[in-house]
Each structure stands twice: as structure tokens, then as C-alpha cells.
């Protein structure tokens, strides 16, 4: 692995470092006559197997020929040269005996990078420079040297008095100079590493000496090089994008994270990784990909809500560039409100939750918007049956760049096709906008301004008009110091509005509007105090303002009386301290404490109820009025986050963690799946905040040198003061929500198994989850209970879940991928007996969630066809043909019963009860690779 070889070929020669693990040179191998006449690919396969030699070639480029052998015993190289030279290929062998079949003279432009991918051949960027100067970032030009070189960092004199030195620098993409976030720098000898921050900056402190470093990020190829660390110094790296990646679906938590990081219960997905996944109605939806991950379930399809590890949907927090998004759905949940083209990646934390996150019990979806290209203007877009959208991006001057994305629907025409006049005359409309502007005045500072808006409008003739929108903006400033210190200060504003005009019943026609404001200030400071310790401290404070608005009569004939609701205010603040501690080569601990304090603020009238009695209207004793600025109630809570990782050998590890979290805002919902009309509510005088504890352990291993990644995680979660709803609760008009709420407990546990094949022509993943989520609501003091005090399965409790995602690259331009989804049906309450009152037949239902819907099963398929691969073209287009629910299985969304003509009939409602084909066209400026 440490031998560098050079293939010098023509001008613009590139340097290739072989890092293949091939054994000894196979130069002398002389195949026998049984090789004569074999098609070239078979020939290569056979030789690879029999002689242990490794070939590097581009499958798509290789000519379709049969190997002719001249009769004399010849070496592989001779045979191949004899057969391939006339086809314009050169064959060369490196010091390790690896054999390269490359197109003569055109190496730089036509070698597909996939040729080298699996063997991890890398190519350093031309601008790679090395410091031996005092001003470390002005490196000597090495572009024209073709010899492999160990980069010397710093000088002996400066490092003389110290045993350790810090290496730092930026990792950017060679493609467009954009910083690579969360790229990994890994020190092979020490089996440790670090990742880059939001600015692409990394820093690592090591003992002085020689090391092999591997740099890699999700979107780029791996780069490996030697350093000789003499003193503190800088090394900026530019990584090559994986242009023709076979593994565009790699969802990473990549290799190093999987086994070596302390993170568990963590998934990261970038937009370019999901390019091939099948889509519903042609909408590429990065958020919905999360449904294919272990531990993530939804109540039903067509629901935007997520249930992560046995928690209700409101225990997940979604934010995009720090802006919280309180309703992540478009069109009642069929699509998510994020334009995937404008998203770089998202990270989901469901296990060990870093201490800088707080305020939800179950998971955090941290979505990063594209920053925009730094080198040139670019645009891309997508047209699907439902929406069209475009993203533009580019630099502004030297130091700033921007990205703006707009997506809108034109689904109205679809409605026009429907025969039913009520639907034909209905309107549905949604749109979203993402804007991102980043400026780096100097190397030490970065300023990001971000804006987000999503909008939904649904007008159902004669029934209801519904509008909702998210609006948010954030301003974030990062400051870096050379020696691993970083400060971030962010100011965040988020707003969610919902309005409805309901005219179902003329007598009770009403309208109401609802609004939630979220104003947040947060600051964090992190630094690496020593080689072993990485410290992060931070504070944040959120001011919530909820305006439930008024309920007003909609028409003159409506009998609804005006109802006014008092506004709610609350402040949630936290201060935290976290440390990541490398105890030894094998053991790493990380953890932290987070002190939360939450206050519910006046002005507000609070009802007082008889003590130890159910909170119902008739138990109200009197009221207390709190004026503006009064603190009505304060809740303090301490969060703990502890995680440990122990390496077992080189490619396996075990991890364990414990997390405690608190949550002060929740969704008022009593529907089976979350509906857009559900309102958010703050913890208040009567409703206590929820507390969650999660214990988890995991085992991670890489098999066959990373050919397969296997992980197994188990968790146990307990939620105290879970907010549940009394049967028949109606929140919209209830001025006293505490009368409809009972607090109970949630117990959830599960095992998640994940096998991933990250690379290769065929790649993808497969996971299986066994889980259980049980709720119990019984207040022994007040006698309030749900389900007569007996425990019941949560609505989203689906014990067995299996997902398979596979992607097969037929050629550079054709790609086929599929998904198989299976899950136990959700629990349901069925009517089980019948009785009569005053002649009316009434169905009597079972206990809550005593039965289950039929199992859910679905296969999706999609084919991606890339436009031509010419290097010089104005724009590149891609068609994606998708079929959702290929088998047309009528998966039950719900089952319900009706009494018709004195007969009880059962019905099954399926949402996508047929295969749904769709075609999406996406385009961008430039060629395929741009």
C-alpha cells in the first residue's frame, strides 16, 4: 500500500498513487492455452481469479474482442498488448503487478474514474502544495513533478521544543472550490481522524512523525498521501468528485463513522446519493428517503410524519440551516416541503444525540442547503408531473456565493381532469423557496444568510379552504482560529402559519388562523484542548410565541360565536458542555451535559382545578391572571449524553450510549397520522414537559475490507409525561387544552440490523428492524386514563420492518434501481360487536389498537437515463422513469366499517392502489460531470 507508482503518459500527465492491496508482482505469470479465444472480460476475470492479479480498466470503454494468443508462453502484459494495442489501448504494470488497461493517449479525459475506485487509486490535485516555509499556506508548486512525494509539514526548527504538532487546512472540492463539509481526514497508523467543519476546515494534532493520511468526503474520491510532520503547519487539500460513481446511493455514515466514530443511530444522506431512487409521482424527495432507513416508520403512506424509534412524530425536529420547520409537508403530506435540488444533505440523529441538539426527544433532522458553487454560475432544474423547480447558484465576487431554489406545482390541471365537479373546481397549490448566501471575508470568518419559505393552499369547493406556510431565516457567523478553535453565533427566526375556512356545515361555518413564532439565538465555541480532548460549549435560547387566533363565523348564517384564544409565550434556554475524549487507541468516550430551563410566560389566564381531580371544566375552582412578563411556571431539566466506542480489531467496534432529553413543545393531534391542521402547543402550567431516556448499544463491522458494512443496534427508550389525548378530544375550539390531555408513559425498544454494500456496480442496502412501542395512560390520583388504564400499542407500532434498496449501473448512462419495503400493518381498533339504542345499530369497538391492518408491501423501480457524456455541451439532461408500487398491491391505509341497509360492510382504503408510473426530466448547465 505504500508503494507509489507512476504511470507517465503523454502530456498533462497525472500522478497516480496506487493504494491497492495487491500482493506481489504478477509480471511473470504466463497463462496457458485455455485462455485462448476467451472474450476479454472473461479473460480478465479468469486471470484475476487464478493468478491473484488485479486489473484496472473501464468496463464500458473496453472493446468487445476475444483474446488471441500467439502460442508461445507470454506474460499477461504481452498478451494484452498484442490484443489491445490496435484498439487504442495501452497495458502497463506497476511495481505491485497491478495491470492497467488504459486508452492510449487520452488518459486524462477518458479514463472513467470508476476504473480505479474500488482499488482506491487516487490522484492528487494538481495544486497540491506543501509547506516548508514559515508562511505555511504558500506551498511550492509540485504540479510538474511526477515523483511521489511525502509532504513535509513545517520545519524542524519550529517544532524542536514540542513533541506534538497540529496539521490544519481546508478541504475543498477540486470541481468548484466549495468547501467539503464533514470530510474525513484519517490517520492510518493511529486509526484516528477528524472531520472538517462547515467551512471545510480541519485540524488534527499528532505526535511529530511520518503518517499516512486518507482524506475523503461523501461526494469525493478518497485521497491518500504521506506526511512528515515536523511542526504546526497547513495543508490544503482538493478532492476530486466521484464523477462516475457507482455508489451514488451510498448513504453515509460512511466507513469511518460506521466502525470508528462514536456516533451511533446516525444517518447522513446527500442529494446526489439519492439520484436513482424511485419516486412517487416523479418527485424526488430526499426527506422521504429516511423512510427506508432502519428505525424510521410512518403511520401510512401519504403522511409526511416520521416515527423514529417508537416516538410520536412531534418528537422529531426538522431544521434547515438552523431554521426550524414546523410543518414539513406539502399537499397534506404527500410531498415534503424541501426542494431536493436545493439541499446538499441531511443528517438524522436518532441514537446518540450530540449535546448541541436539544428540545426534542426522538430525532433531529439537520438539513443543509446547498451553498452554491464558488467558481462559476450554474443552474439546474427538474420537471415532474406535479411540480417544476429550478436552482441557480454561483459566486459573487471572490469571496461570496449564493444559491436560490424555487419549486412550484401545477397540479391544478390534474384536478381539471377529474370528472367530479367538486374536485374539478377545487384548487391545490404549493410552492417553496430556498435562498442561501455565504460570504467569507477572510479565511477566518464565514457569514451565512439563509431564507426559507414554503406555502400550501388547498381549496375544496364547498368544504374548506386551507392555507399554511413556513417562513424562516437565519444569520450565522463562524469564526475560526488556527489552532482548532471555532466560534459560531446564529440568529434564527422561524414562523408557521395555518389558516382554514370551513364551510362543511353552513350552520357552523367558521374560519380561524393560527401562528407560531420561533426566535432563537445560539452560540457555540469548540476547541481541541489536547490531542485527547475536543470540547464544545454553547448556549441557546428560544422565544416561542403561539397565537391560536380567533374562531370567527365564516358566513352571516353561521351560528358560531367568536372565540378568542389567549396567546402563549415561552422561553426555552439551554447551556451545554460536551467533550470527546480519546482515552486510548481503542477506546473513545464522548458526552456532555445540557441544562435546560423553560418558562411559560404571561400574560395569560390560568385555570385552577381541584387538586388531585381530573382537569375538567366542572372541577375549576378559580382563575389566576398573570400579566405580561410574569413567569407562570418554570421547568428545569438536565440532559445527559454519554457515548462510548471500543474498537475490536481493525474493522469492528462496539458502542454504547445513554441519552436524556427534554421537550417543551408538542403537537395537539388525535388523528392516526399527523394532519396539517394539527396545532403546536407549549408546555404550560398544567401540561408538564416530556422527558425521554434512551439506552443503546451497537456492534459495527466491515467485512471484506469494507465490501460490506454490517451494523446492529439495539435501543430501549422511555418517555415520561408523554402527551396523549382523551378519547373524542377536539382541540380546535377548546380554550382549555389541558381538559383534553392526559399524560402517560411510552416504552419502546427495538433492534436494527443494517447491511450495506457501499461500492460496486451493484450497491445498496438492506435493513431489518424489530421494534415495539407501548403507551400507558393511567393517572392513579385523578383517575384519568386512556383505554381504561390498560397499555396499548402506539399507532405507529409496526414490529417488523424490512427495506431493501438496490442500485445497479448498467452503463454510464443507464442505471436501474429498486426498493422493496415491507412492514407489519399498523395497529387499528376494529368494531367487534354490535348493539342497539333506540333502534339504531351501533358498533362497539375493541380496546385501543387491539388489531392490525394487513401487512404493507411495496416494490418500486426506476431507470435513469443520462444524456450524452460529451465534455463540451451547454446543458445536460437526465430522464428518470419511475414506477411506484410496481405490483399494484392495494396496501391498506385504513379499514373501516359502515352500516348500510342493516348490513355492516367493511372497507379498505388504499391510497396508491395501482402502479404509479412517472417520468421526470432534470437538467443542468454544463456536462454530466459539472
Amino acid at each position: 500500500m505504500r508503494f507509489f507508482i507512476q504511470i507517465g503518459l503523454l502530456t498533462g500527465c497525472i500522478l497516480m498513487f496506487s493504494v491497492a492491496w495487491s500482493q506481489t508482482g504478477q509480471n511473470g505469470v504466463k497463462p496457458g492455452s485455455e485462455y485462448d479465444g476467451l472474450p476479454i472480460t472473461e479473460f480478465l476475470d479468469k486471470a484475476e481469479k487464478e493468478y491473484g492479479v488485479s486489473f484496472y480498466y473501464d468496463v464500458d470503454a473496453l472493446p468487445d474482442i476475444e483474446i488471441r494468443m500467439s502460442g508461445d508462453a507470454q506474460t499477461l502484459k504481452t498478451i494484452l498488448n498484442a490484443n489491445l494495442n490496435r484498439n487504442g489501448f495501452d497495458v502497463s504494470v506497476d511495481a505491485n503487478g497491478n495491470i492497467f488497461i488504459l486508452k492510449s493517449g487520452k488518459i486524462k479525459t477518458s479514463i472513467s474514474n470508476e476504473v480505479f475506485k474500488e482499488r482506491q487509486i487516487i490522484r492528487p490535485a494538481q495544486e497540491k502544495t506543501v509547506s516548508e516555509e514559515e508562511k505555511p499556506d504558500e506551498f511550492a508548486e509540485t504540479e510538474k513533478e511526477y515523483v511521489s512525494k511525502t509532504y513535509t509539514i513545517g520545519n524542524k526548527k519550529e517544532g524542536a521544543k514540542r513533541s506534538k504538532a497540529t496539521l490544519s487546512g481546508y478541504i475543498t472540492s477540486v470541481e468548484n472550490n466549495e468547501p467539503l463539509i464533514n470530510a474525513t481526514i484519517y490517520v492510518q497508523e493511529l486509526q484516528k481522524g477528524t472531520t472538517t467543519n462547515e467551512n471545510g476546515h480541519y485540524s488534527i494534532t499528532l505526535k511529530k512523525g511520518n503518517y499516512t493520511l486518507i482524506a475523503k468526503s461523501v461526494e469525493t474520491k478518497e485521497e491518500k498521501f504521506r506526511i512528515n510532520l515536523l511542526s504546526d503547519g497547513k495543508l490544503d487539500l482538493k478532492l476530486e468528485p466521484q464523477l462516475f460513481m457507482l455508489n451514488e446511493i451510498v448513504i453515509s455514515s460512511e466507513k469511518y463513522h460506521n466502525v470508528k466514530g462514536t456516533q451511533m443511530g446516525f444517518e447522513k444522506i446527500s442529494t446526489r446519493e439519492i439520484k436513482e431512487l424511485p419516486m412517487v409521482l416523479g418527485e424526488r424527495d430526499i426527506i422521504k428517503v429516511a423512510h427506508l432507513l432502519p428505525g424510521v416508520l410512518s403511520v401510512a403512506e401519504g403522511s409526511a410524519s416520521f416515527n423514529v424509534r417508537g416516538s410520536p412524530a412531534d418528537q422529531n425536529l426538522f431544521f434547515i440551516n438552523n431554521v426550524p420547520v414546523y410543518n414539513t409537508s406539502h399537499f397534506l403530506g404527500f410531498f415534503s416541503s424541501f426542494n431536493s435540488n436545493a439541499i446538499e444533505e441531511f443528517t438524522m440523529y436518532k441514537g446518540n444525540i450530540p449535546v448541541n441538539y436539544g428540545g426534542r426527544l426522538s430525532s433531529f433532522f439537520d438539513i443543509k442547503a446547498n451553498e452554491g458553487k464558488q467558481d462559476r454560475f450554474s443552474a439546474r432544474g427538474e420537471i415532474s408531473p406535479i411540480t417544476s423547480g429550478a436552482v441557480v447558484e454561483g459566486p459573487i465576487g471572490e469571496k461570496a456565493n449564493y444559491m436560490a431554489g424555487l419549486r412550484t406545482t401545477y397540479s391544478d390541471w390534474v384536478l381539471g381532469l377529474v370528472e367530479n365537479p367538486d374536485i374539478r373546481d377545487s384548487e391545490a397549490d404549493f410552492a417553496d423557496f430556498i435562498g442561501n448566501f455565504t460570504i467569507r471575508p477572510d479565511e477566518k470568518n464565514k457569514l451565512n444568510l439563509f431564507a426559507y419559505h414554503s406555502y400550501d393552499h388547498l381549496d375544496l369547493v364547498e368544504l374548506a379552504k386551507t392555507n399554511y406556510k413556513n417562513t424562516g431565516a437565519s444569520l450565522s457567523w463562524d469564526h475560526f482560529w488556527n489552532n482548532n478553535k471555532k466560534l459560531n453565533v446564529s440568529l434564527i427566526y422561524g414562523n408557521y402559519q395555518f389558516g382554514q375556512e370551513n364551510s362543511e356545515l353552513d350552520l357552523a361555518a367558521y374560519k380561524h388562523a393560527y401562528e407560531l413564532d420561533h426566535l432563537e439565538l445560539k452560540a457555540s465555541y469548540s476547541w481541541k484542548i489536547s490531542e485527547q480532548h475536543d470540547i464544545e460549549v454553547g448556549v441557546n435560547s428560544i422565544f416561542y410565541r403561539l397565537d391560536k387566533g380567533d374562531i370567527l363565523p365564516l358566513t352571516e348564517t353561521s351560528l358560531i360565536s367568536k372565540r378568542t384564544f389567549e396567546k402563549e409565550r415561552g422561553v426555552e434556554s439551554a447551556i451545554y458542555l460536551g467533550d470527546s475524549w480519546d482515552v486510548s487507541d481503542k477506546l473513545e468516550l464522548s458526552g456532555g451535559v445540557r441544562f435546560n430551563t423553560y418558562s411559560y410566560l404571561g400574560p395569560k389566564t390560568v385555570m385552577n382545578y381541584f387538586e388531585n381531580a381530573p382537569k375538567i371544566k366542572s372541577n375549576i375552582t378559580d382563575t389566576t391572571y398573570y400579566s405580561s412578563g410574569d413567569i407562570i411556571k418554570t421547568y428545569n431539566g438536565m440532559d445527559y449524553r454519554i457515548a462510548a466506542k471500543l474498537l475490536l480489531g481493525k474493522s469492528s467496534s462496539v458502542k454504547a450510549g445513554y441519552n436524556r432529553l427534554h421537550q417543551y413543545i408538542f403537537l395537539l393531534t388525535n388523528t392516526v397520522s399527523v394532519s396539517p391542521s394539527d396545532l403546536w402547543k407549549l408546555s404550560d402550567y398544567h401540561i408538564k414537559p416530556m422527558t425521554g431516556d434512551q439506552y443503546s448499544v451497537g456492534f459495527y463491522t466491515d467485512i471484506w475490507g469494507g465490501f460490506l458494512e454490517v451494523s446492529m443496534e439495539a435501543y430501549y427508550k422511555k418517555v415520561k409525561d408523554l402527551v396523549e389525548y382523551k378519547d373524542g378530544a377536539e382541540f380546535l375550539i377548546n380554550q382549555l387544552p389541558e381538559t383534553d390531555i392526559v399524560q402517560g408513559k411510552l416504552d419502546a425498544y427495538g433492534i436494527e440490523l443494517m447491511i450495506r454494500k457501499p461500492y460496486g456496480r451493484l450497491n445498496g442496502w438492506m435493513n431489518y428492524t424489530y421494534s415495539d412501542a407501548t403507551i400507558e395512560v393511567e393517572n392513579e390520583i385523578t383517575g384519568e386514563e386512556n383505554n381504561f388504564g390498560m397499555p396499548y400499542p402506539a399507532n405507529y407500532d409496526r414490529p417488523h420492518a424490512f427495506n431493501l434498496v438496490a442500485n445497479y449501473k448498467i452503463s454510464k448512462r443507464f442505471n436501474i434501481s429498486g426498493a422493496v419495503v415491507y412492514a407489519t400493518g399498523r395497529p387499528i381498533t376494529y368494531p367487534t360487536s354490535v348493539y342497539y339504542q333506540d333502534g339504531i345499530e351501533i358498533l362497539n369497538y375493541s380496546l385501543r389498537n387491539e388489531y392490525r391492518l394487513p401487512d404493507y408491501f411495496r416494490i418500486d423501480l426506476s431507470i435513469k437515463i443520462e444524456g450524452n457524456l460529451l465534455a463540451k455541451k451547454l446543458a445536460h439532461g437526465t430522464f428518470i422513469l419511475s414506477v411506484y408500487n410496481l405490483t399494484g398491491r392495494k396496501n391498506a391505509y385504513s379499514v373501516y366499517f359502515k352500516t348500510e341497509d342493516n348490513k355492516i360492510n367493511g372497507y379498505k382504503l388504499s391510497i396508491f392502489g395501482a402502479p404509479i408510473p412517472s417520468i421526470t426530466y432534470s437538467f443542468k448547465l454544463g456536462n454530466y460531470a459539472d
Binding site: I423, S561, F788, Y835
Partner: protein, 384 residues
């Protein structure tokens, strides 16, 4: 204030092409059979009052299973109590000169089942009735899922008086009576030969009385002033003979307790809510009757005490609208008539306009066979 129901059209909008509803029956879901069911109320209207006891039936075999042989007793908060008499299987009645409900008094139901299990309702306060201000009907045309045309019919509306108390919880018990004719008069009897029938229209006109099996309830809770105006109750279409001659509806407006209202409202909401996209969970609804030794035993039904105000309305056959009920076919082919075996004689025979003998099913001649009675009810007032 229903907000969920609207979603189903939304669903159709999007997935109209693919969403589908199929008949479906889950496997064996029979459970919670054999539960005690209580049905009845006491009111300020003159007695006697009836209470019906039954047993819940399996969902696969829905039927009314009366529970006889129980001891049923109503007690008021003054200590007076009366044992009800079982007048037919499972139906228990107070004496004609027995207990009389009064507003402001509370009543309790006690049941001792034949197997000695004892149940009680707890005291139910009889609320003051809220008077009906007006009850009227309008000819309307309602869209229908089954038919391409709109259904014509009378939509009944009710307006209450202004409630003195801030909230009234109302439940409308609707009883309809309608006059209708059989399709044919009986002109002859056939018993091998034709005998003239002495009173051809004696089984021709009937009155049928029944409960309207739809639930109507509302509350003044969110209304100001606390008055329910023009609340739509039953709709009677021209798809049946109900409006063919004269129709009468008795609306009993029951002022009930909030608990009783919640019970009915929950049942109603569950029925309403089914099959849409954002449904709430249906749930088991237990009434106000408890086994005094086992609180966890589910008991169904609600024993109510209600303040009642009643009003009756008559509507004549609407003019200028189509009726869509089926009528018997008068078969004039004598061969079929003559083939009827003597065991089934005598057979009713009518005559056509041209004087031919015609016959049909017995129900075409005898109006009583479809549930009515030929005795005009005492309250009935003929139209013009």
C-alpha cells in the same frame, strides 16, 4: 367542528386515479360479545317509561338479543323507587300510574341480572327542557352517490328557543308516521273462480310509524346567543312511499346531560369520521352503567334523564317532483294465476283499467304487510 372529514376529497384530488376503496373483511374479529346493553330514558313527559336490556352481538352476526328475566328499578333522589315490569322479552316498563319524571330531580337505574350481577347508573339529573321554537320542512334536492340525479325530498329543520342556561345539550328523537297506499285494491278473490271482494280498499291505506334511525344532536355550547337556528335534521326523499300521500314527523327534543351528549356525540363522530385520511382512532365507548362489583366490566348504552319538548309536523305529497319508488306489476296473464295451487288460495285479484283480471304479490294488495297498520293513529290529522 369537524376538520378531518374534508380530507377525503383532498385525497381523491391527488390520488384520484389510484386511491381506491374495496370491500374488505378482516379475519375473526369477534370480541366483546355478550356485554350488557341498556337503552332507555326517563323524561318529564308523562310515563310510563320503558327500559330495554339486551346483549351485544358479534359483528359477524348482528342482531338484537333481548335480555329477559332481569330486575330493573328506577330510584329518584327522594328515595322513591319503582320496579319495572317486563312486558316483553327484554323490555321493562314502569306502571301507568307509576313514577313521573320531573325536571330538577335525579334518577338512578339499578339492574340485577338473572345471574345476580348488579349494575347501577348513578343519579342522572333530569334537566329542564329547552322548547322547540319551530319545526319546518323545505323541498330540497340533494346529490346522491348512487344516483345520477339529485334526490328530491323534504329536509326538516328545527329551531330552538333561546336557552336560558348557557349550554344545552340536545338530542333529537325523531318518530315518523306516514300514510301510504298499497299498489292495488282488492277487487276479486281467486279460489279457482273469481269472487267479488266486498270492500276493495279495506287493506289499501295504511299508516306506518317508526323511529328515524339517524342520530341528530347538537349543543349550544359554541353558539351565541345560545339558540340553535335552522338546524337540519332528517331528510326524507321521494325514493320511497313516505311522501306519497302525507307524512308526519314528531320531533322530541331531549335536553340531556353533557355526559350523555358526549356519549352520543362520540358515537356519531366515529361514524362520521370513518374512511377519511386523517381519522382519529375509533374507541370503545362505555355508558354510565357500571357493574357495582367490577368497574372494569364493559357495559354499553346510556340511561338518560331528559327534559323533553315535542312538536309534530305534517307534510303533504310534494308537487312537481318525481317519485322513484318501485310499484308492483299487474300481471294479466291468467295462466300463471290459474297455476297457483289451491293451498295458496284465495289469491287477491285486481282489475286493470281495461277491466282485465290482474294479480301480483300479496304485498301489492295488503298495505299491512310492509309494516303499517290500517288503523288511523289517534293523533293523525288528515290533510286537505
Amino acid at each position: 367542528m369537524r376538520t378531518k372529514k374534508i380530507i377525503i376529497p383532498a385525497l381523491i384530488i391527488l390520488a384520484g386515479i389510484t386511491a381506491c376503496i374495496d370491500e374488505y373483511w378482516p379475519g375473526d374479529i369477534t370480541k366483546y360479545e355478550d356485554l350488557l346493553v341498556v337503552d332507555g330514558y326517563i323524561s318529564n313527559e308523562p310515563g310510563p317509561y320503558t327500559v330495554k336490556l339486551s346483549i351485544s352481538a358479534g359483528i359477524n352476526d348482528p342482531r338484537y338479543l333481548p335480555l329477559g328475566g332481569a330486575e330493573v328499578r328506577i330510584t329518584d333522589d327522594n328515595g322513591y323507587n319503582e320496579l319495572l315490569t317486563e312486558i316483553e322479552d327484554g323490555t321493562y316498563k314502569t306502571a301507568d300510574d307509576g313514577i313521573q319524571g320531573e325536571a330538577g330531580t335525579s334518577y338512578k337505574l339499578t339492574i340485577i341480572r338473572p345471574d345476580e350481577r348488579v349494575y347501577e347508573s348513578g343519579f342522572q339529573m333530569l334537566r329542564h327542557p329547552l322548547a322547540i321554537d319551530s319545526l319546518y320542512a323545505k323541498l330540497e334536492f340533494h346529490p346522491s352517490e348512487e344516483h345520477a340525479y339529485n334526490l328530491a325530498g323534504y329536509q326538516f329543520y328545527i329551531t330552538t328557543e333561546n336557552a336560558e342556561h348557557d349550554s344545552s345539550y340536545l338530542f333529537w328523537d325523531l318518530i315518523e308516521t306516514y300514510q301510504y297506499n298499497a299498489d292495488f285494491t282488492i277487487e276479486y278473490l281467486y279460489d279457482g273462480g273469481y269472487t267479488r271482494f266486498p270492500k276493495p280498499d279495506s287493506l289499501f291505506t295504511c299508516w306506518r310509524t317508526g323511529n328515524i334511525e339517524n342520530m341528530f344532536l347538537y349543543t349550544t355550547e359554541n353558539l351565541s346567543p345560545p339558540q340553535i337556528k335552522n338546524f337540519p335534521i332528517n331528510f326524507v326523499s321521494t325514493q320511497t312511499k313516505r311522501l306519497s300521500i302525507r307524512y308526519s314527523m314528531l320531533a322530541k327534543q331531549l335536553s340531556i346531560s353533557k355526559k350523555a351528549y358526549d356519549y352520543w356525540n362520540n358515537i356519531n363522530e366515529i361514524i362520521d369520521d370513518q374512511g377519511s385520511l386523517y381519522t382519529s382512532q375509533p374507541f370503545q365507548i362505555r355508558g354510565n352503567i357500571k357493574n357495582i362489583n367490577d368497574e372494569n366490566e364493559p357495559v354499553l348504552g346510556f340511561f338518560m334523564a331528559a327534559g323533553v319538548d315535542s312538536k309534530r309536523i305534517y307534510m303533504d305529497r310534494p308537487d312537481g317532483v318525481d317519485f322513484h319508488y318501485g310499484e308492483c306489476y299487474a300481471d294479466t296473464d291468467p295462466r300463471y294465476l290459474e297455476a297457483i295451487p289451491p293451498g295458496l288460495w284465495p289469491v287477491y285479484v285486481t282489475t286493470t283499467e281495461s277491466g282485465m283480471y290482474a294479480y301480483g304479490a300479496e304485498t301489492c294488495f295488503d298495505c299491512r304487510l310492509v309494516g303499517g297498520t290500517i288503523n288511523k293513529p289517534d293523533f293523525w290529522i288528515d290533510g286537505n
